[in-house]
Assembly symmetry: D2
Homo-oligomer: 327 residues x 4
């Protein structure tokens, strides 16, 4: 039985807690949150302990940590896990400062601990099925990749201000997916972007962006991001190969079709990541737990987290210079 300590009992923390308790081989051992009431409530619901951070890092019965607290705490907490030499799952990104992230990754590497970064989309059943079909060589060698990713509505300006910007906060998922699907690192980045929303513009951020990544093999990846989409959470992937094309379409709220005098209509796309990627959040935790139990490395490492940040960093240089940036 794997005793897991959850650090951060917010929206995503609750999702992780639920995934843990559904596993026969794991237990939600304890919950840590800087808001005691929040931690207590979640701990009580699942008959877990409510610990302080100090207690959590000094409790020998804990086997692994799941970090779902705010981004600014990630690298410190990961290093804490490295110090007590225990496996850790941490939400993306590692940090908003790439040098801080690099330092953290160095410590993780030195410690030898498992450190899985939560790029949940790799565990979405639809995206995972697409990846399997690529790996099964259904479309031959990949020539191009296209990712459309748009949020249903922009976050608050407070969120934007502390988010690290579109590339660190949002497109980082797509950078990870691009490297993973292409099985190759990009060699150059070009960004075209605008700020449609005045508030976002006033934060110095952009809200629509099209990015082209080129690779050594000649494959070309195009990523289109936006902070707003009238029809829900736009999450589409298209991989084109010599023998065919694979696509993940949007997942709709339901599959009812209404045909009337206005035409043939269906529901919108599922609203946002909590709905669209519910199974992905679940499956990534199961993967983390199972990897520890089997004694194998999870399929995502801290280096993957670092690579996505490096592409985000280069994207910001391209945006500011208006030029292509080599990686």
């Amino acid at each position: 039985m794997l005793n897991i300590c959850l650090i951060g009992a917010g929206r995503i923390g609750v999702v992780h807690a639920h995934a843990i308790v559904t596993q026969q081989q794991a237990t939600l051992h304890s919950v840590v949150d800087f808001l005691p009431k929040v931690a207590q409530q979640l701990a009580h619901q699942y008959k877990a302990k409510n610990l302080t951070l100090d207690e959590a890092f000094n409790d020998d019965t804990i086997d692994a940590y799941v970090i779902a607290s705010s981004t600014s705490t990630h690298s410190d907490l990961i290093e804490g896990c490295a110090q007590v030499n225990k496996p850790v799952f941490c939400e993306k990104p590692i940090d908003l400062d790439i040098n801080r992230a690099k330092a953290c990754a160095k410590i993780v590497k030195a410690s030898g601990i498992i450190c899985m970064i939560g790029f949940n989309r790799r565990f979405d059943p639809h995206i995972a099925s697409l990846k399997n079909k690529i790996d099964d060589n259904l479309i031959g060698s990949i020539q191009s990749l296209l990712i459309n990713s748009r949020d249903p509505e922009p976050p608050s300006l407070d969120y934007i201000a502390s988010s690290g910007g579109l590339f660190y906060d949002m497109m980082i998922h797509d950078f990870d997916m691009a490297c993973w699907l292409l099985n190759e690192k990009p060699s150059s980045v070009y960004v075209a972007a605008s700020a449609v929303d005045k508030g976002i513009a006033s934060c110095g951020d952009v809200d629509i962006a099209s990015v082209i990544l080129t690779t050594q093999s000649g494959a070309i990846a195009t990523i289109i991001n936006g902070r707003q989409a009238a029809f829900g959470y736009d999450q589409r992937i298209e991989v084109f190969g010599e023998n065919g094309m694979l696509q993940v379409q949007n997942v709709l709220e339901d599959n009812v079709i209404l045909s009337n005098a206005q035409g043939i209509s269906r529901a919108k796309a599922k609203f946002f990541f909590m709905q669209r990627y519910a199974k992905a959040f679940h499956n990534e935790l199961i993967h983390f737990i199972t990897s520890i139990q089997l004694g194998v490395k999870p399929s995502i490492s801290i280096e993957d987290g670092l690579l996505a940040m490096q592409i985000a960093e280069a994207s910001m240089v391209s945006l500011q210079s208006g030029k292509v940036v080599n990686l």
Copy 2:
């Protein structure tokens, strides 16, 4: 070069005329219509002659006739073609009186002429593709057939009154398709029907009907008809076999998708038979012309027209008695 005489220059006649002139091996020789102006105009546009019916049946240079006049004239005109011993294409149905149709079929048989009845749907590219896939054994032996056929809006009550009723006027197409797709005649018919529209009820007709045909082999065909559909001309077929299912979906006005705050929407189905079956009308004439030139029998005979009428007749008995009728 095949000289074709068109009898009936109305809406469908114009469509047939156009199909004829696009064929390098055929010519629109002449046009006959009881309204001289209508015949003249069409004849002039395509540099054809304008003949009276008598002239048409006495012109030795005519090789074949295409009948697109009103239903009440069909059997007389077909018999006229039999008398001059020339191939004829005639719109469905042969007649509204089954005994008159039987007599006509007898004369056609005795004469040995080609007489193709215009069950155009067999020539629709989508439906023809489905039929080919059945014949290629893609779904194995057929277990059930389902046809949904609904007009976009009811015809005038004048039309209804002289139409022969839902089964003779509308479902006759589906009876032909059922026999053709199943490659088997039905052994029993059961009808459930209602008159939703009060005007249609006052004509003694029904406007929605569900019919079950059983066959000797055990296959079951269900045909659903209606005189009105808010979303356009509803024309769907579904054939279920031991190894899979084949479906023809509705053909929409265009393939544009609009995704907005209300959902994901597409255009309505093409409005009615002139739009939906434009290619079918074209292709059936090409088939008629090509068959004559190749000296082979067209794939539809007057006996097919008679069979569909016999099922329509049995359907009316079932409707009136509320009982299953054996064929």
Copy 3:
């Protein structure tokens, strides 16, 4: 906190147990199974008690029962709940003998207990969404209903032999849905059916059936059932009204599209009811629990269970006589 006792710890029992524990206001109090090991294991996993049936009916701390045992035990167990005057959720059907079911319903009625029958499809998110759109009058008055329901593969002949036959075992779901969606009881039933599978034929059962139900209002319902479908669990509904049509399509295994030299292809339909109706099983238990806590009647009663059985009974008469049966 609602203490629930689960009777029957098989495949469906496990699903119900999981639904109960995810609810903050309910507890899985105890598990009963005639196989002690099965009951113990499930009880242990969710920290519940393992009781005998006698203990279960004599435990004052139990607030409600969930029956997921075999059909032959249903009516006895429901009557047991009536005797201790506690709410009960029971899987469909009430019984295979309609007279036994009627007697049971009488006792339930006399006791005044809540007795919800598990017609889970009403709680499927897609079907529930369709029903809401009907109730919101999106398609106006209903003219016809079409249900296609096919299992992916036939059950064992042992299962068939004790199933009560296609109408009691399988189409009963569709009879319930038809009455619920049309908001009306049928006035006549006509059945056309065959036995494609020789094994099933040897059991005296059929494996494909098309049924037409007529109603007083003139609406016509067509139900098509089959015990086998090459492409997975075929579960489609189509409701046609004066202002439009509503459809529930099949739910596919994933939404990946592969386009290659063979065409454009997608995954099969989800395999069977455990996959397709996972959320429906969950939601029906939540509805049962919530209804009890709110002190309101669940939306399905034992009378609904009885009505579906009466239509199944009439269907068997129609099948044997080859005639339309009035209800």
Copy 4:
């Protein structure tokens, strides 16, 4: 009656001839081709004259010219029409040399003749419907545009060698569409491209390319082209606006769906431009004829042809330099 002279009786010439003869207000007056037999055959079929080029430019009874000859003849022939001061429709591109095209456009402008360039896609019913919906403000202000355009199979190397390259030969259609749909000229171009096919590489051309166009308003257009697609002619457009998204999907060979043990499959996309854009070719000629008859300018001018070439020219600079090019 408009007398039209067709110059060029090859594959596209035949399509244009057919469109002309279906129009009641126009006549195919004459056919010119440097291969006399080809011209004679087409002229005979439609009862037109067979003229030499000199005769064609000296025949006072000709009202307008349609140029469907090879690209290298376009600018000379357009200038010939300017000299005789008659309207001309010419296939794209004006020329492979941008300076030659500019000179030709100058002469056209000075003459004041109508000169419509054949960007047929604007007349495709699906694309035209999308454009209408943009103009009807269904999605509000446009934020981004995405065009996927892939041929089913690469042309011969001979064709490639004289084609002017991917940007002049193929993406020029998409450059025109981008300007037309965005209603704005691009301000910068960035190209990422590769040569997957060794033969094409040996011609110094590329066969896959992703291009980003930015505009003054902040809208971003992405164009993805390829010379090969296993699943047919890939022709998709997606326009994203503040209030929604409009898409044109691929048009498939038929709308039959096969569901079997392998999944749910449909036909490939229509093979190539002759199939996919048959109606577009027809409609553009109708537009040209109608415009002349109404005395209005066609919706496409020679300046539109020039603009698309200028973007193609800038794209080649970006490709060679690896840099963003301002327009």
